[in-house]
């Protein structure tokens, strides 16, 4: 039974500013979904190795040769805000002065 508070916590972790109405809706929906997917617990699987990659590959390397990456202009082309050839972002530390 997932609570509204737990959903609010998940939203904070996932950086989603969900509103009050959404919280109620998501709490109901997530509860139904999580109860359904919990069925994976019915399978006795203690000695089964987990699969993270269905068609396994090993040691996929390339030669250590320098390649060009995106140039600065291309990398900044879709940026929301550019200053001095850099991404201008909102403050990440502290309170506004």
């Amino acid at each position: 039974m997932i609570t509204r508070d737990e959903v609010a916590h998940l939203a904070r972790l996932a950086r989603l500013a969900v509103n009050e109405k959404e919280l109620d809706m998501f709490a109901d929906q997530l509860d139904v979904i999580l109860q359904s997917v919990a069925r994976v617990g019915e399978v006795a699987a203690q000695d089964i190795p987990p699969t993270s990659h269905a068609v396994p590959l090993t040691n996929v390397f390339r030669d250590d040769v320098v390649h060009d990456g995106l140039d600065q202009r291309a990398a900044l082309a879709a940026a929301p805000d550019v200053v001095d050839g850099r991404f201008r972002v909102p403050r990440i530390l502290g309170e506004p002065q």
């Binding site: 500013a17 399978v43 590959l57």
Partner: protein
């Protein structure tokens, strides 16, 4: 041919809404380049040179927007072409535009697109499937003879099934994911969509193959699917063992779908195939395992949409912190289904829940792969209905996520195991006259046998029906006009 398709799109797309972006100038220029090369006596770049195609808006195109059906990428111009895009262009394929999809490939109806749903050409009040509904509708609506989709839980095959077209999910790693905006990295796979099995095979050979830019791409020769499709077209399946998955039947399956599937089994038997019933007991857990693994991977993959380097940015008023701007942007930029899946994934991966949910789902994944391996010891291919029902009405399932998820019941196991699988039209349902799809599954890298069986089936089914089923799709220009 390109102009004819552009004209068709201009006429029917307002009703169909299959395309989010149409590149008239680019398409005409690409077609002209093919013509000029041919006039100059140069051999065609591929068997598909000059053929128009609709590209799902989840692959990056440097000269067209790539939105993934999301407001958070509305208007985004990628700085590079996906490998798949480059291979299409190099083959002389004419990309007509980008097709509509469920947001970030999450959905089974294309109703989760931020830009409005696509409609099914067979009945404009119904869904064309999802997440690749724009691609399937463009084929069934005769807007393009070829299309590209991606399939993570069935998003190529289920739309093919409900629109009476062919859709293929290659072996995981068979088609490069470089430039495919990631939803669930261990499941996502791009693949060909077409109106016939042979066309899909021709497109498959253009897009598949090892890519050093995708470290999950398989370094092995592309399966010779065109030859296999042609061989299948001869209509002889003697010696081929076809397994019917026992678990994909019963409650929840529309009677018309099951009837069409039984007819298909009869037709395959008539071609000389040996029909065997096989049980894959862990397939019952495929849906819950998928709705843990895919959301977990998506919660990680979609963290990159943070309003910092590209895409939507909201609430940057000079006072708000980066975290506040991120949260406000993601809240406004993502739709409900995407948010649900991000939160499920966040839950399943968080400490205290990881072992019971994500960890357990990964073990179920191993058991599903083992079920497939055991089945393929006894049979060459596995078959089932592609999806339990025909196209449902737009609006019918959006309020009930679990009901929507059930559309993927039969398609998901192949994604979890990484096998090859396709959907080929099997008939029109006796219930409602809507298309039904037959799913054919093969082991990883064994696409040839899947294409061979599908091509043989397509031929005998067309003969039984007196022509290709797709010819019965309603005349959109009459419906539009």
């Amino acid at each position: 041919m390109t102009r004819a398709h552009l004209d068709r799109i201009a006429t029917v797309n307002p009703d169909l809404h299959a395309f989010l972006h149409v590149d008239d100038a680019g398409a005409v220029a690409a077609a002209r380049a093919v013509d000029e090369a041919l006039d100059a006596g140069r051999p065609p770049a591929s068997p598909l040179a000059g053929v128009p195609l609709a590209l799902k808006d989840v692959f990056t195109t440097a000269d067209m927007p790539t939105t993934c059906g999301s407001r958070i990428l509305q208007g985004w111009r990628p700085p590079y072409d996906a490998t798949l895009t480059r291979r299409l262009r190099r083959a002389g394929v004419v990309i007509l535009g980008k097709t509509n999809m469920d947001e970030f490939a999450m959905g089974s109806s294309t109703e989760n697109s931020a830009f409005g749903p696509t409609r099914n050409p067979w009945d404009l009040s119904r869904i064309p499937g999802g997440s690749g509904g724009g691609s399937s509708a463009s084929l069934a609506g005769f807007c393009a003879p070829l299309a590209i989709g991606t399939d993570t839980g069935g998003s190529i095959r289920q739309p093919a099934s409900v629109t009476g077209t062919v859709g293929v999910k290659p072996t995981y790693g068979g088609v490069s994911r470089y430039g495919l905006v990631a939803f669930s990295s261990s499941l996502d796979q791009g693949g060909p969509c077409a109106r016939t099995v042979l066309d899909a095979a021709l497109l498959h050979e253009v897009i598949a193959g090892h890519d050093p830019l995708d470290s999950t791409s398989i370094d092995a020769p592309v399966p010779e699917v065109v030859a296999a499709a042609r061989e299948g077209g001869a209509g002889d399946l003697r010696g081929v063992r076809v397994g019917v998955v026992a678990e994909f039947s019963g409650e929840g399956y529309q009677p018309g779908v099951l009837a069409s599937f039984n007819d298909a089994v009869g037709l395959l038997h008539g071609l000389g195939a040996e029909i065997v019933e096989v049980s894959c007991p862990h397939f019952r857990y495929a849906l819950p395992a998928y709705y843990l693994i895919a959301p977990s991977e998506c919660s990680s993959n979609l963290a990159r949409f943070d309003a910092m380097r590209y895409g939507l940015r909201i609430g940057d008023d000079g006072v708000a912190s980066a975290e506040e701007v991120m949260s406000a942007t993601r809240e406004a930029g993502f739709g409900a289904e995407v948010k649900r899946r991000i939160m499920i994934g966040t839950y399943a991966l968080s400490s205290g829940y990881y072992d019971a949910y994500y960890g357990q789902a990964q073990k179920v994944r191993t058991l599903i792969s083992r079920d497939f391996a055991a089945a393929f010891e006894r049979v060459d291919v596995l078959i089932s209905p592609t999806t339990p029902t025909t196209a449902f009405k737009i609006g019918e399932r959006v309020g009930d996520p679990m009901a929507m998820y059930l559309a993927d019941l039969c398609t998901i196991p192949a994604n979890l195991a990484g096998n090859a699988a396709l959907s080929v039209p099997s008939g029109l349902s006796a219930d409602d006259g809507l298309p039904v799809g037959l799913q054919v599954m093969a082991p990883a890298l064994a696409e040839e046998r899947m294409y061979r069986v599908a091509a043989a089936f397509e031929r005998v089914r067309d003969e039984a029906e007196g022509g290709a089923l797709i010819q019965r799709v309603p005349d959109l220009e009459v419906m539009a006009g």
